[in-house]
């Protein structure tokens, strides 16, 4: 980490593991449930949040000394909504196909509690560069979990990854299906995401006992 000081590097690395927004802070669960039935959607959502949180954190941090505290939540909301709409409009004009894939996520990004949470908890009290790193770190931490959940749900639920069959053809009974294996329909409905997230939390806490809260 020659580029970043140790403190700065931790801003990115912490949210990836020991301070993960989903598994430790339990933020952003709603979108983790909604869109992880497919790996592709998980990746698209992660990239969108990476952009919005990175840029949004910088904007809020630059404005932090002039934002009236009484209306700061509204100001934060306007910044997120503006960013998301700008991206949406630009994509619609120049990358129409991509914009259609993203349309579903626009609402989910604006209301994503990780974004508001980081604005409120970090960007309002820190400089732009630190805020940028914090935004990137948290978005990556969110993305990692989304992709892990998406991977298992798509693989076990549909037998595909990124829409490409990897376990054979379930109807013609080829590949793994020839042995009597069946797709687990439960994996593609939202409760399955909760279970996968739960397992990730379990694994993470049994590897690092310090994360377990006192009862």
């Amino acid at each position: 980490m020659g580029l970043l000081s140790k403190k700065d590097a931790n801003l990115i690395l912490d949210p990836l593991a020991d301070n993960n927004p989903i598994t430790i802070q339990v933020l952003g669960i709603c979108s983790a449930l909604a869109i992880t039935a497919e790996l592709q959607a998980s990746v698209v959502m992660s990239i969108s949040v990476l952009f919005v949180l990175g840029v949004g954190n910088v904007v809020i941090s630059l404005l932090r000394n002039v934002i009236p505290s009484k209306i700061r939540i509204i100001v934060q909301l306007i910044v997120v909504a503006t960013l998301v709409i700008v991206v949406d409009q630009v994509l619609k004009a120049f990358a129409y196909e991509l914009s259609k894939t993203l349309a579903v996520f626009v609402g989910l990004i604006i209301t994503n509690c990780i974004i508001m949470g980081r604005f409120e908890a970090f960007a309002l009290g820190n400089g732009p560069w630190k805020s940028f790193l914090d935004g990137i770190g948290n978005a990556l931490g969110y993305g990692v979990i989304l992709i892990i959940v998406g991977f298992f749900r798509e693989l076990l639920g549909s037998g595909t990854l990124f829409g490409i069959p990897v376990l054979g053809d379930p109807i013609a009974k080829t590949g793994l299906y020839a042995t009597g294996y069946e797709n687990n329909g439960f994996m593609i409905i939202p409760p399955a995401a909760l279970i996968v997230v739960g397992i990730i939390i379990w694994v993470q806490r049994s590897r690092n006992k310090a994360l377990i809260e006192e009862a």
Binding site: A37, A41, N65, P68, A93, A103, V104, I171, I188
Partner: protein, 249 residues
């Protein structure tokens, strides 16, 4: 220079300035990009109409592949022989009928007025297709599409799209494996315009029975599937007077 950000007057001024800046930024962006966005939407409609009548670049059982946007206008005028609007029991030719917004027309009908319902007659390899736009409701938001019929009221192809169905579940109505099932199905049950229902556990998952007015549903997307069923039924009801005039069976 410390500003007292807690003062009411400051708060009001800040809010006002912010609204003006954000508002003009978005307005500027929206009007600047409007022509390009409109063009993209126009191409998309043409691609969808052509897709429904079987003019596309699908290969094997893979993904949906539309006619590329740079040639779609030429192909559209080549394959679409007539653009019509159905008003009550009359049918008129109308240029650019494909730009008519189905949602608006359905609202007009809801208010009890006479709507202009667009319809397209396409011809490919000497075979005619009648392509009808559809508009309905999924689980979260709007769903829409086109259905292409021949004179025997057999489906030549369908295309669906949606605004905000759940990725991986309801959003799959726009994938090949769902849309392809409709092709070859008859929308008639005897003399009745039964449409095509999206049904769970219909004992025909491979969709070999083309006379049962049913296709296999998507797991985990019951409400989106029901929305598709309802959309097809409602649309056929509206177009029935016209379909009666072209039906040969």
């Amino acid at each position: 220079m410390a500003i007292n950000t807690d003062k009411n007057s400051y708060t009001v001024i800040f809010a006002a300035v912010m609204v003006v800046i954000v508002g003009s930024l978005l307005a500027f962006l929206a009007s600047g990009l409007r022509p390009r966005i409109d063009e993209n939407e126009r191409f998309e409609k043409q691609q969808n109409i052509l897709y429904a009548m079987g003019v596309n670049q699908n290969e094997g059982a893979g993904s949906v592949s539309f006619i590329p946007t740079d040639v779609v206008e030429g192909e559209f005028s080549k394959y679409i022989k007539q653009q019509l609007v159905v008003v009550g029991s009359e049918t008129k030719e109308r240029e650019e009928a494909y730009l008519i917004d189905m949602k608006k027309q359905l609202n007009i009908i809801k208010n009890g007025d006479e709507a202009e319902l667009p319809l397209f007659v396409g011809e490919k390899d000497g075979k005619k297709s009648y392509i009808i736009p559809m508009y309905g409701k999924g689980l979260w938001d709007a769903i829409w599409g086109y259905i292409s019929l021949d004179e025997n009221m057999v489906v030549q192809g369908v295309v669906f799209d949606h605004k905000g169905e759940t990725p991986g579940l309801g959003a799959n109505i726009k994938l090949r494996y769902f849309m392809d099932d409709f092709t070859g199905e008859s929308i008639l049950d005897g003399n009745r315009y039964a449409g095509i229902s999206v049904v769970k556990g219909n004992n025909d998952p491979l969709n070999n029975d083309k006379e049962d007015n049913e296709v296999d549903a998507l797991a985990g997307a019951t409400i989106t599937g029901n929305g598709v069923t309802a959309m097809i039924k409602e649309t056929l009801k509206l177009y029935k007077p016209y379909l009666e005039t072209i039906r040969t069976k």
